[in-house]
Subunit: 154 residues, 2 copies
DNA sequence: ATATTATAGTTAACATGTTAAGTTAATTGC
DNA sequence: GCAATTAACTTAACATGTTAACTATAATAT
């Protein structure tokens, strides 16, 4: 932790730190660890929470749509749905016009859980914004989006 | 992909997109997917690759040290060591002065693999830098670091 | 010296990320 | 109208993230 470093070592470590995947991962972990303990109390992962939020905004979504909205891959969403369904937080109804499709709905329990968690979640987000600075946060979002775009265009 | 969206829908989606964990995850995935196919050819994850790079810079590190350098948790590093050891890319030697510790060394095969991958990896990193812009990349690194710091100080 | 505590590492258990393969139902093509 | 293809999931397999429990060794403390 507080071990002294030679100049040579500092340089080596700095160059090693310049890894985009790792920097992004560390930032994400820092956000998730410090600001989502209320989810943990209720046994929800951020992905599960995000799925529930998506359904609060629009109920009855299909699994693929939900996966897109939450930026999850279909297999991940498939497992999340099974998990939340087993905990009676959501229920599914097959779509009559297309038997392959499932519409996902929140149960009353799911809505209650949302109401229990949402205030704290919003409060924490507000705290991040204040702590880090609103402009810096905007800047970060923009840079991240730009990065994705510039990587996606070959 | 190109489905038209109502203004209301756009607003909802935008607000939903403002999730730091997800934005960070998406950016990381974009980086990893587009710029590390050479690792995949050799069956290496970015974490395994990072571990090898750390050992190239300094051989004989202990597992905990390696975990710190690579920003991985000890259990993850433990599994990675076992995996790379089974593939004869690294070997371990227990430290005489302290039987709990293991010093990790690259094998010749591990060094060869590094040499095979490194040029492409550096080239891709260079390409990211050009594509995205060096200043923006610097800015992004700085913001990410600031974010971690500001979250860690309670 | 021996009991307590701390450290290094492994294992376990569960959720997710990721790619590929499998299933069932709808669509297309001819 | 039937074969081939596509679409919506699901399942599988493997690596990682994460927390906790466990093992073995070392340090400490009285």
């Amino acid at each position: 932790m507080s071990q002294s470093k030679t100049k040579h070592e500092q340089l080596r470590l700095r160059s090693f730190d310049r890894s985009l995947p790792m920097s992004l991962l560390r930032a994400r972990e820092a956000v998730m660890k410090k600001f989502i303990p209320s989810l943990q109390e209720h046994g929800l992962s951020t992905q599960q929470w995000r799925s529930i939020r998506a359904l609060v905004q629009e109920d009855g979504l299909e699994i693929s749509t939900l996966a897109n909205r939450c930026h999850l891959l279909l297999p991940s969403m498939s497992r999340i749905i099974q998990n939340l369904e087993a905990r009676d937080l959501i229920k599914r109804a097959s779509v009559k016009a297309d038997q392959r499709r499932n519409a996902i709905f929140l149960t009353d329990g799911g809505r209650e859980l949302f109401k229990a968690i949402e205030p704290k979640s919003a409060e924490r987000y507000e705290f991040i914004t204040q702590q880090f600075g609103e402009d810096k946060l905007d800047q970060l979002y923009k840079l991240l989006q730009d990065l994705v775009i510039s990587l996606e265009e070959d």
